[in-house]
Symmetry: C2
Subunit: 412 residues, 2 copies
């Protein structure tokens, strides 16, 4: 494979995670160390920063600050929810991207995101090939939703799952403190896939699990739900319910839909308020004390509780993307393959064509949802458990986390 | 001082904290090791367990499991919100308590709770003295609200403050990920005292603090609030607001009042839903994207992020209560005195008469609230900062916290 010399751009896109910066660091560190890569630019707010030519020169950063990206939640370079057009219909954005690539001699493009970002990545890859601009494009996955196709699991999911399971275990303890009745409804993220909601069930492995878990993979039935809750409550005086924000009725309408107020740039409805809504319905039905808890942004930015496995794999995904591209690969997303050796978990990277990944959502297999459709099976827990293992030693500043402080000096 | 030989009871009352069990462990461990104490009983659900004679024999527990109480959130013995009557008006409960004390030869009573619990503790102490039953009664403080009189600070506060400041810093990162407008409203606990809301401002020490903080010590003015928020939002495109659940208008009505649905056993209104409510009001006013986040139970049960200072002091409070009682003290709550030696923080215990503590709420001094009434001063931060220092090494089980598993064998 012929060596391709030039600059690289790393961009971050979509909703952030606790560990997306670990992937960015995997890209940045590896690229800075690569003889083929002449400059490393961070795009401000993903593809929007490419379009506007707002690129940060990563070589101007203190290496120790860059390393702190391993522990810094959210997308440090900034993110976007910019839906790029189909180049066959409107190639305005692509011509602008090409212009910026040419100006900075960008020969490597790494895009760190979820489904929509892999679609963007794929379109740019196709366009550059079509116009004959020699550029290698790689997707670096991230999503707490764990819904990317072709990979065993996604960077970002393990840490969110660890946060959710730990928080549910702690809330379990709190919710049982009185000898009076108490029902708790915990809402977790997950529009179309129930990986996060199911992960709450891991708290059951330490005896502090939810009684009921509802995933968006199956239709939600309010009457059945109320029977489920009240029968447990009548028997035990307590009931902890976990719901995915994306649960929906058989006709496809979201249970939270009345609360929908706005939508994000991709036309997805913005959900929320489901826990409070279900809590009110249960309170009316049972007269019990009910508390709704929405884990909200906390579940995707709780880097203080990141899974070591997840941080390491996230870094690996970024590193592998650069190594693959430098060695001639292009048009792939880095994915993971799970190897179960001697009963232990190990993981190796694999490459998935971007065209296969883009816009496809991987859901929880129905056989991992229990017969009553209100919980997950042991196989589900066995799948998630290795991904939440280990904790990072978090650098601290005055008892609080020490996040990376980047200079963000614009490239000219 | 004459040696008093007999059994002890430890009870837990009121809302739980991340570290109330560290105090219970301080009592239990010290009592088990004391030659004066013949048996150590844990009351199930506080004073309710005393009244019903439901007492767990702590000598039947595995010492290693007891030690895990240091890391186990919530009140492991169970709690209650039982309002005991004034013994001069109705002494039914007290006669029953005396009966149980006599049956089990209880000569030491330790009650682990907040304001209301210290009132209970005080009434029992007075009654036992009045009827001439030789029994030493000590209060062991706990409250995330930090509102107990006579002590520099309260066990439970530091860990909640650390959780709140850390979570706010993480949310700050998340809320700035897009280059589009975003306002975030974070609701923290605190009915009448703003210690917890103010603690969010500590995130500012690492550059990730809220723009505005509203405490219940000063009247809330919705018009002024909206001006505060929109002026920051118009200038910066982002705004993070922290509100105490107890903020109220000048006439005393809670801002969250429309959402009040039920009340606890002490006649306090149960608050909640404030963040969502303010988010809606701001959204209507500004048209901006607004997210309301309620830290809910998470802030008081997040033992995975407990402050080491708080855990150690909580244990010390329990230990000191037993040592004081064994040495003849009675009718006191253990409190803390802050010593600033060589610029460093140290803390020693002190004893405060229960009668002084009961039912009095210590609020944030007005001079620690800024002139605009929308933030706290440096003095406030300097006061809280030592209390959030250090982290515990959390024992783990399958990547999740390993909580204490007690046998809870009933005493006969």
């Amino acid at each position: 494979m012929e060596q391709l010399k030039g600059a690289c751009i790393i961009g971050q896109s979509g909703g952030p995670t606790s560990v997306i910066n670990a992937s960015a660091y995997g890209v940045i560190r590896t690229a800075l160390d690569s003889p083929s890569i002449t400059a490393v630019y961070g795009a401000a707010n993903g593809i929007k920063g490419v379009l506007s030519g707002k690129l940060y020169d990563m070589s101007k950063e203190d290496p120790a600050e860059l390393e702190l990206l391993l522990h810094t939640p959210s997308s440090e370079l900034g993110s976007c929810r910019y839906k790029i057009k189909d180049p066959d219909i409107d190639d305005t954005d692509y011509r602008r991207i090409l212009e910026v690539f040419q100006k900075f001699n960008v020969r490597y493009f790494f895009y760190n995101g979820g489904n929509d970002s892999m679609d963007t990545c794929n379109k740019i890859s196709r366009y550059m090939k079509k116009v004959g601009y020699d550029c290698r494009v790689m997707g670096v996955p991230k999503t707490i939703d764990n819904d990317l196709f072709g990979t065993d699991h996604c960077p970002g999911f393990g840490s969110a799952a660890k946060y959710i399971a730990t928080s549910c275990a702690e809330v379990y303890k709190d919710a049982r403190v009185y000898d009076t009745g108490m029902i708790t409804v915990i809402e977790v993220m997950g529009r179309h896939a129930g990986w996060l909601a199911g992960s709450a069930a891991l708290a059951g492995l330490i005896g502090c699990g939810p009684d009921l878990v509802y995933l968006p993979e199956v239709d939600f039935d309010m009457d059945k739900f109320l029977v489920d809750v009240t029968s447990i409550y009548d028997r035990e005086g307590k009931c902890i319910v976990v719901v995915s924000e994306g649960i929906h009725y058989a006709d496809g309408t979201f249970v939270s839909e009345a609360k929908v107020a706005s939508s994000d740039g991709f036309g997805h409805a913005q959900l929320g308020g489901l826990a409070a809504r279900l809590a009110n319905i249960i309170k009316e039905k049972t007269g019990s004390k009910v508390r709704g808890i929405e884990l909200s942004l906390l579940q995707r930015c709780g880097a203080h509780l990141a899974s070591k496995c997840d941080v390491e794999e996230s870094f690996l995904a970024g590193k592998t993307a650069v190594e693959t591209a430098v060695n001639g690969g292009s048009g792939y997303m880095v994915g993971f393959e799970r190897l179960e050796e001697d009963g232990g978990y190990t993981c190796k990277t694999k490459l998935i064509p971007l065209a296969d990944v883009a816009n496809y959502e991987k859901k929880v297999p129905l056989e991992w949802i229990n017969a009553e459709k209100n919980g997950v099976t042991k196989d589900f827990a066995a799948y998630v458990l290795p991904l939440i293992q280990g904790e990072m030693e978090i650098p601290k500043d005055m008892g609080l986390p020490r996040f990376a402080r980047l200079n963000k000096i614009l490239a000219e």
